[in-house]
Symmetry: C2
Subunit: 304 residues, 2 copies
């Protein structure tokens, strides 16, 4: 953690170009001629971001999906991507990875146009990077624009992917909608495009509702009060809807829903679940069924 923070601080001190946005956002915004490009790149590492036994199709899908989700949070239309690939040494595995990657790229219209392929030394964990390029469709929301009096929404329930990961840890062969939510996240590209011109702040939920909302509050200089943690029917069926289950769902990562803020007079143009309010002040607070609930020590997934 300390090393990564030090490295990121060093990077930020050098990344002074305005397109870098201080490396404080999930994406870069680069204007070239009349084109406003949104750029993002994510790396996934064997044994860190996925398990060696995970199905290669799902790893490929997820690599595309996490990058697409970063574009979605900016209301960007995907244009193209480049892949940095480490050969597995097993042609079937590589082919299955590409099948899953391409399934996601086709579904969301982001053609693969280049990249690089390498071999790792024997015994090394492999890693894959995808760099996604999108085009801004209008305003480009950030996580820093939330205003007091505005309302906080998500595009879907939270916690399914985290519950899926828990199930897989106990039984690598587990199946069902919670497993699908973990392995095949669905980036909210269409929703992002519709929300971007309206949202005062928007980001994707990658690390968990609580921690991501806390980051939005900090970046925006406001307080955020979460008053509802929406669960899917599949999650309620598996775990019930107790307070503990709800809090666990709000701590869980990998949802890839959009978290966004709208002025009170704006009706969401997409399926949206109200989850809280923005107020003057600072920090995150939580109320469930009208009663204040202390925040858990760990708000969500912390990198590093």
């Amino acid at each position: 953690m300390a090393d990564e923070q030090r490295f990121l601080d060093h990077l930020r001190s050098r990344a002074t170009h305005e397109a870098a946005r201080g490396l404080l956002d999930d994406v870069a915004l680069l204007t070239v001629g009349n084109a406003r490009l949104i750029l993002t790149s994510d790396t996934i590492v064997e044994g860190v971001h996925y398990l060696p036994g995970d199905p290669p199709q799902d790893i490929g899908w997820k690599l595309a999906a996490v990058n697409l989700s970063d574009l979605a949070a900016k209301g960007a239309q995907p244009l193209a991507c480049l892949l940095n690939y480490s050969l597995s040494g097993a042609a079937e595995w590589d082919a299955a990875f590409l099948d899953g990657l391409h399934a996601a790229l086709e579904r969301y219209g982001m053609p693969l146009i280049g990249g690089d392929t390498v071999k790792m030394p024997a015994g090394s964990a492999r890693s894959y990077s995808l760099t996604a390029i999108g085009e801004a469709t209008g305003d480009v929301p950030t996580r820093a624009g939330a205003r007091a009096g505005h309302r906080l929404y998500v595009t879907g329930p939270v916690g399914d992917a985290g519950a899926g990961l828990d199930l897989l840890r106990c039984d690598a062969g587990a199946q069902g909608p919670l497993i699908d939510a973990y392995r095949r996240p669905r980036p909210r590209i269409a929703e992002g495009v519709l929300l971007a011109p309206l949202a005062s702040a928007m980001m994707d939920l990658s690390d968990g509702l609580l921690i991501d909302a806390a980051r939005m509050a900090r970046a925006s200089g406001v307080a955020i009060r979460i008053d509802h943690i929406p669960l899917s029917p599949a999650l309620e069926q598996a775990r019930g809807a107790s307070l503990a289950t709800r809090i666990a769902a709000a701590q869980a990562g990998d949802d890839y829903e959009l978290l966004f803020v709208l002025p009170p007079d704006v009706t969401p143009p997409v399926h949206a679940i109200p989850v809280g309010e923005v107020a003057e002040g600072a920090g995150l607070s939580l109320r469930i069924d009208g009663a204040p609930v202390p925040l858990p020590d760990r708000l969500g997934w912390q990198h590093g």
Copy 2:
């Protein structure tokens, strides 16, 4: 080799977007609005593309330089880049890597605007990817445009970097201009911009003069006759200028000079050394001091 080829064939069968150029070029060309973007991404792997004991500043420099060289070969002006970085576990090493990377990025005007940082599991080789974005300044040459009767040039002597690598293999502490050529290649950005409107074919020398010229001949459907292998004073001083030395220099990779073809009535607008002729037919041939010389079995660096 077979695995990589199979994977690349699979990739190509899916990369049908015109911007991908069939993944047969070193770069992608993506038009967005009135912007013509040149995109490239290279990955370097510890123990494969560099040695664990190499100075981190030089590894960072080289990662930037190899990507910049791909832009140079298209006459592109660098715009920005994204870095995928594996933390080393040693903050000083990471800082030195960034210093070298930034030195190259500043020199060639390619700001770092984003990327991702990960930790690898203990014992894994690390890898670094850089995705570079440039803007086409006019015509975008490929390796496929060489025409019979045109002349072949390079922007500088060949073989220095290969000789530097040989020296380092014998003495990891070796220094001098050949070592610098290997560790701190200088991408020919300014030359590329001036040559792009004039060159009928252009590429950068990454794998060696012979193999890269053979690739240009194949892509263009012509024969290429190399009649001169230019050596630097430093290389001649270290190794003499025998035929064997010349051939070794033309087999050596990592030069990152530009290899380009001009019509016979065009005078090169940059420092350029004539190295051969384009003719009807197919394949590569070699004449030194006016006499035919058989091609070596290994033309240059083969990936995989």
